[in-house]
Symmetry: C2
Subunit: 334 residues, 2 copies
């Protein structure tokens, strides 16, 4: 991305092993994230930056210290490379690994990618996947793992009513995660008919079209005036955070994963809300083995969030389609 | 309190049963809360308001619908009256009961108090207590229950390092609670030697005198650069909340109970901190049976936080002593 709104696909030098713990992966597919739209729209600084942080592909080469990952394996990694051995990783917060590397700084909208901490970051599939599984495996790299973390952070589960604020890929996959985690009732907040349809397919039981205070009032109506037990926030704006906070019952849980932009939480309202608040950049690595297995066994189909597929060369058109909401999520083929 | 800084003890009409679920309690002791200093200092509105929300005493009369509480019993209640039967109460959030009544609006710095929802609010001791247990039982009404909730919200427990921001009665009793909950290491942040001594008596293993960024740096030094697993916030200011947030490791837990005044939490920093945040007005009722038993069995001595005892008539001097930090917490006798 040369500047906001200016994405170009250019030839760059092939990445090479730098650290002995690195691997080089030849990508099978990559994609554009909702968070890639922040710099596209000028909300984050960008200046000739490599883009992308989601990836699946085949290991081409590994450094001398890599022992678990082998060339020829099909692998998925998270958008944070992590050693998976430090105390923070072992507690399940690999996105905050003491040696974390943001894959977005490396850029995975590319043919070849260097992945640091290969053993700690990459998870191999049981075998080379059939092509129709690749979109779902790619989704596990971020949007599925992030939606899953949000649902876990919101303590979605049996007997609980879950509300989901945000109908992008992460919100929709938060619906899928809440369903898998056994939630009793799942309320998707969406005003787009195509996204409502996918939410219902993923397991939503109710759709609320209202947003802001009206949306909060609808959630209260649906929950005996109390609010939802669990609320997933998957946008990152002041409005969406307040909508999530106010939709949650006292003692309930907000799981928030929308990358925060310009949010200021009013301390007094937060205090008297008595909710649990947890979120941030999802430790996707924690969930990858389980998610890959669910996909491999065809129990979930998160790849359904991709509604536009383009060759990598047409990445700029992909950004435009997502920015203009012509697409929920764009898969880029190689 | 007629106005900020102006507390007077005056004759008022005796309270009477209004609702059939009410009880009238003749107080054995009451006290002044750190949060009573907010209006005293002009930070909260006050205008001829009855004051106080902590109380222990003997039931004098009960309404026709009261079945569990009997005249003659010695009882303790929380600063929120609660029915203890609604869905929110049953989930353990009695401070947010759908029928909650703030005892502070009734005012318990008095000889007689009307307690709404008597069956749901009041917990009786096994017998009339010996006089030396009364301060500890009174502490259970708020500061002990609040410190305990903060420690539970911060998930203090075995193997965990707990940092406590705030050395008032609630912070000190957060130390006691963390010790009872089995925390491995408890770092009290205090620069007052008398409060440091009490923190050590309550189970603190380390004292940090620095505050703000320097305090955060010390906590990091003491925790391999990672931050504490659990942080108790017991002040309620912007500085204390940021100190708590920044002292917590990724994936760790902040339990915050300082009544929030002017706090604005920066969303971006909160997001990338990846902490759990939980707190608010403590559901003390959840913990009262357990806390009363611990006091009754003389396993804890939370009444130690009272370092000045005055007759009720001298309440104004009690406020001044706490405001000027000549006392941590003032007990008022009747």
């Amino acid at each position: 991305m040369h500047a906001p709104g200016d994405v170009r696909v250019e030839e760059r030098e092939n990445p090479a092993i730098i650290e002995p713990t690195d691997a080089i992966v030849r990508l099978s597919a990559t994609c554009i994230c909702g968070s890639d739209l922040w710099p596209w729209r000028g909300a984050d600084r960008v200046n000739h930056s490599p883009m992308g942080h989601e990836y699946v592909g085949v290991v081409e080469e590994v450094g001398s210290a890599v022992t678990d990952v082998r060339p020829g394996q099909f692998v998925i990694g998270s958008f944070f490379a992590s050693d998976n051995t430090c105390e923070i990783c072992r507690a399940g917060y690999q996105s905050r690994c003491v040696h974390a590397v943001m894959m977005g700084t490396i850029g995975t909208q590319a043919e070849l990618v260097r992945v640091p901490h290969a053993d700690g970051t990459l998870v191999a599939t049981p075998d080379l996947p059939p092509p129709d599984l690749i979109p779902s495996l790619l989704a596990a790299s971020d949007v599925l793992g992030t939606g899953w973390f949000a649902a876990v952070a919101a303590e979605a589960g049996p007997g609980r009513t879950v509300a989901v604020v945000g109908d992008g890929a992460v919100g929709l996959l938060g619906v899928l995660a809440a369903r898998q985690l056994g939630a009793e009732r799942i309320i998707a907040m969406s005003r787009h008919t195509d996204r409502q349809a996918l939410a219902l397919e993923f397991g939503a039981t109710d759709i609320v079209e209202e947003r802001g205070d009206a949306g909060v009032a609808r959630i209260k109506e649906l929950t005996d005036g109390l609010g939802a037990h669990s609320v997933i926030e998957a946008v990152g704006t002041q409005e969406s955070m307040m909508q999530a906070l106010r939709s949650t019952r006292p003692g309930g849980h907000v799981g928030y994963v929308g990358v925060s932009h310009g949010v200021e939480l009013p301390g007094g309202e937060l205090f008297f809300s008595t909710v649990h608040l947890h979120g941030g950049p999802a430790p996707v690595r924690r969930f990858l083995p389980e998610l890959i297995q669910l996909i491999w066994d065809r129990k979930i189909n998160p790849g359904r969030v991709f509604d536009l597929t383009l060759p990598l060369e047409q990445a700029a058109e992909g950004y435009r389609a997502m920015d203009e909401r012509r697409a929920t999520k764009v898969l880029l083929t190689l």
